[in-house]
Amino acid sequence: MGPQAEIIALGNPWRRDDGVGPYLVRGLSEIISADRLHHVTGDLSDLFALFEKCHEVLLVDALDSATAKLKPGQVLRLTADDDRLAQCGSAASSHALTLPQTLALAKSLGCLPEHLEILAISGQDFGHGRELTPAVRRAADRLIGEIRRSEEATCPPRL
């Protein structure tokens, strides 16, 4: 991911590990300007408008460790056509797009960002609550550190 990438977090911060994306964006807000940080919750069709404006995107979402057969906190780095994306949210409604459907539609519409990386973080508990489970929180903190170092290496710190 380059220094001008937009970071888009998906997920509901009130549903424990589903909020790992928003947690990561909050953790980056001190070093990355607000206009590069986004949070989409609920209707993923809002992603299309963001994609139209972005050349390079880092998308952060949670996936279910049980479905994905991963350990909680494990991180996958995926591209838009990776089959494992199917584990990032299920189709709870035919009136809502899943992430794979959203990315497939964006591809059909020609608005998929040229550079798109998906950080899929394996979550353990998607029940009610604001706290991440410990393994997921450690993974998120590690990623925040990595992104922070990458940003600082390419951009001088904001004073």
Binding site: G42, D43, S45, S93, S108, L109, G110, C111
Partner: protein, 444 residues
Amino acid sequence: MSNRELPLNAGLRTRRVNVEYLSRVEGEGALFIDVVDGELVDLQLRIFEPPRFFEALLAGRSFTEAADITSRICGICPVAYMMSAVQAMESMLGCHPSENIRRLRRLLYCAEWLESHLLHIYLLHAPDFLGFDDALTMAKTHAEAVKRGLRMKKAGNDLVRLIGGREIHPINIRVGGFYTTPRAQALREHLDELKWARDAAAETVRWTAAFEFPDLQRDYEFVALRHEQEYPLNEGRICSNRGLDIPSSEFLEHFGEHQVAHSSALHAVRKATETAYYVGPLARYNLNRDHLSKATRELAATVGFDRSVNNPFQSIVVRALEVHEAFTEALRLIEEYEEPEHPAATYTVGGGIAIAGTEAPRGVLFHRYEVDEDGLIRHADIIPPTSQNQRTIEEDLAELVGNNLSLPQRELTWRCEQAVRNYDPCISCATHFLTLERRDGTTG
């Protein structure tokens, strides 16, 4: 599944249409039709999604919770549930929100219509008319149209988020009004995008009006709210094209529900005649066309829709006209918006019968609650539009199949699925009933 064996190579006059899982509708349903020697012998719109028990969940909860609980019945029309619930309670309590609150609610309801109608037009229904299996496939050759629809839908999402707190299952609605109301400037920042969207809505009307429509003209009883001055959203009397004109409080005297074996959603009928009726965009349009804005009426005339519409396949054009009206109305409401002095009107807790009907995107959504003196709900009855339209959908299919037995099997099945989607059915909304048998032997 019917056990009947149909003869092989029986010819076009003996047919079976069996869609085991309807796609591009909300919820879980199937379609089964048998025709033998040109006679319809079995037709079932099967709703097999399990009951969801919402009415039972409401028993014992505070009247203030009805809006938030019932909003969870549907992810695409939660505002409709919230509005019917809070207005029912306000009617019971004699609570009168200010005119500015009333207008803000109307704006929020417009935004929900936009979210719902635009999703249906562009992603769920247009593929039927253009010969695609789904929107993903359609997008490959109609990218500009799909992009237009998604951008318009986002304009609706943004308004629901601003007024309701989030775009799905809003959290800012309460009995008496809102928890907080938006600043005028925050709403006005949306004006430019809404003006673009209104023009895009006119393009949507022209786009859909150019589709080829299967020929089906039916003599429906259309039922919708009718307001003295406005195209109906939140308020109005329940009227029909056959002379019905009643307040919402008399709804259950004129409409009844029946259980049928093949559906886990109750079928609604007119009580006096045991006949089906039609709620939704066509009903609203045919009963309230005179209350559309001048701009929408003129637009309708340019595509030949300045008339009653009795072909259910043309509901996609009427939805597009309602989208144009909703953007037009949203612009007016924002331009005239005055920040309410108080976000909610006050009231004194009490009990009684709480009733309201509003116009959800798919038609009249009726709520009735019995509330005790402590403000606890003792009984809830919710009649959503899709359950009201079930029998009408089946009657459409019967006529459609009878008129089209010469079609090849694939085309006939396609046409039947398309006919179901004319209603944008929300099966998940329809399957919330529960008859609860208590240990004392009573039911409720």
